[in-house]
């Protein structure tokens, strides 16, 4: 019902090929793609979007939750689009008062908002298919070489994993606050936008308190079961990168690099 339509950063329990893939490979692929997306222009973006679509459809990842996660950022996307559209100098296509749309503006608007959307989709696909704990384990493993540079890797990993759990936690807690307030007479389903905005205020403040409280309890629960930042931690399902997975990841990253020359 209410609140359940926000899905950004939520893990989605299912059994796709992306779910079972090694978290280290997924992190590596996502991070490379996220960096490279910033180098894409026009056709590069189109091709990359196509490639992502093909991958997501091929592994049968439900697309609805992924699209819904965009709802959380639509304001940013629209704002970016408008700013680029109106504030970029170039050949004027259309003028209305002091507002002018230029050809580069239009192009930049599309490119910049497309990049944001792709970033969200990439991150969404990662968090949807990888639960926070596995992300933390993967991160810990990838960061391990930094130990030789005297970086406290396990402490970093603990902080990262608690933070990673924090995001879905914010959503879960906001859902709980909304449900509790709804059960006690608050109206969140009003068609009246003003009313809805007004009603989010009493949600936000308690949300912080609750999220901190819950994260604290979560940390205590992990600690109580001898969690020490992943140092010396083994897994029921050990992280194992199959050769096909490695090949696929390499192919993906190479393709991503190639696209930046388009």
């Amino acid at each position: 019902m209410v609140g359940s339509d926000i899905t950004i950063g939520q893990y989605l329990s299912a059994e796709t090929a992306l779910h079972s893939a090694d978290p280290r490979l997924k992190i590596a692929a996502t991070v490379s793609a996220m960096i490279l997306v910033f180098t894409y222009e026009g056709w590069g973006l189109v091709a990359f979007t196509g490639m992502m679509l093909v991958i997501l459809l091929a592994v049968r990842l439900p697309l609805m939750p992924l699209l819904k996660s965009l709802r959380a950022v639509w304001v940013i996307v629209v704002l970016t689009f408008l700013l680029q559209l109106f504030l970029t100098p170039g050949e004027v296509l259309w003028q209305w008062g002091f507002l002018s749309v230029t050809d580069t503006g239009l192009m930049n608007g599309v490119v910049f908002s497309a990049r944001i959307i792709l970033l969200v989709v990439l991150l969404g696909a990662l968090t949807m298919t990888t639960p926070p704990l596995k992300l933390a384990d993967g991160m810990q493993s990838l960061l391990r070489p930094l130990k030789y540079l005297a970086v406290p890797v396990s402490r970093v990993a603990t902080v990262v994993s608690i933070t990673l759990m924090f995001i879905p936690n914010v959503l879960e807690q906001s859902r709980k606050v909304i449900r509790s307030q709804m059960a006690r007479g608050a109206d969140f389903e009003s068609a009246n936008l003003l009313r809805r905005v007004k009603d989010t205020v009493p949600v936000l403040v308690p949300l912080f308190v609750k999220v901190f409280h819950d994260s604290d309890e979560l940390a205590v629960a992990m600690y109580a079961r001898s969690y020490a930042g992943g140092e010396g931690r083994t897994r029921l399902y050990p992280m194992k990168a199959g050769s096909m997975e490695v090949l696929f990841t390499i192919a993906f990253v190479v393709a991503c690099i190639a696209l930046s020359f388009l």
């Binding site: 329990s13 704990l133 979560l218 992990m222 969690y227 931690r233 083994t234």
Partner: protein, 277 residues
């Protein structure tokens, strides 16, 4: 680490005050817990049961006094991990302790942190899930279970650590009759195998299964001893804010009507056979 007989949890003059709290939640506790015994901790709401439980495995460090586990002082940061490996904890609220994304990985979380081989973890996880009866939930998401199901997952998670002590903070409060019997029976068996069990509860029936009963009142130990001694008189039980057994209530009612039921009648069956004698 010493041998099993000498491995104890000891509280010496323990006081605990929560940050910014106006008064002590525990005000002077001296207790000792041995392996191979089951302890029931009873007391009113707010009497300090959960605080005591959290002190036992070092999650809270006493403001005054000390807690030692197997000779290790819980105030010593370096021994914290060792203490928590030996003392597993089931929290009162099962919602707050679901960490992983599937039930089996949730149960595996403790053993994983102990650095065991995957095959060993598998064995422990399967055993623990079978013991509490949650095998069919193995692939479900822990946060999307019913509260009672979560509570069972939490118990399995503690079992899988194969600790020396289990501190169970009202871990049976939401369990249905079958599941409760299963968990209590399990606690009994573990005790016989040499584990120490500290079970916080509001149920007198459960306290009667323990070897020692500890009753807390306002942060101090109001009474401690064998269940038969501590819990025999219904008036005393009531005075401590505990629910008296139904049988004892009827027996007292009968006494006011001039009928004396012989001592030792402790359940409904016995009462009915007395009636028909």
């Amino acid at each position: 680490m010493g041998d099993a007989d000498s491995f104890r949890m000891r509280m010496e003059g323990v006081r605990y005050r929560y940050p910014r709290a106006g008064s002590d939640a525990l005000s002077g506790i001296d207790l000792e817990f041995e392996q191979g015994r089951m302890y029931a901790v009873l007391g009113r709401n707010g009497s300090g049961k959960s605080t005591l439980a959290r002190c036992l495995n070092g999650l809270l460090v006493p403001t005054v006094g000390r807690v030692t586990v197997g000779g290790l002082d819980s105030a010593d940061g370096a021994s914290g991990l060792e203490i928590r490996r030996n003392v597993a904890m089931v929290f009162q609220n099962p919602d707050a302790q679901m960490i992983a994304s599937s039930v089996e990985e949730e149960v595996a979380f403790g053993p994983e942190n102990l650095g065991l081989e995957p095959a060993l973890i598998r064995g422990r996880v399967d055993r623990a899930m079978d013991l509490v009866g949650i095998r069919e939930l193995a692939r479900r998401q822990p946060r999307k279970l019913s509260q009672g199901q979560k509570q069972l997952v939490a118990v399995a998670g503690a079992l899988a650590m194969e600790p020396r002590f289990i501190v169970s903070d009202e871990s049976t409060s939401m369990l249905d009759h079958d599941a409760r019997e299963r968990v209590l029976e399990l606690f009994g068996r573990l005790r016989d195998d040499g584990l120490g069990i500290v079970h916080v509860t509001h149920f007198l029936e459960e306290a009667l299964l323990a070897d020692t009963v500890v009753i807390l009142e306002d942060g101090v130990v109001a009474d401690e001893g064998a269940p038969a001694d501590v819990l025999s008189s219904p008036d005393e039980v009531r005075g401590l804010g505990l629910r008296p057994l139904e049988v004892t209530v009827v027996i007292r009612e009968l006494a006011t009507l001039g009928h004396r039921v012989p001592a030792g009648v402790l359940d409904i069956e016995e009462l009915l056979s007395w009636l028909n004698a």
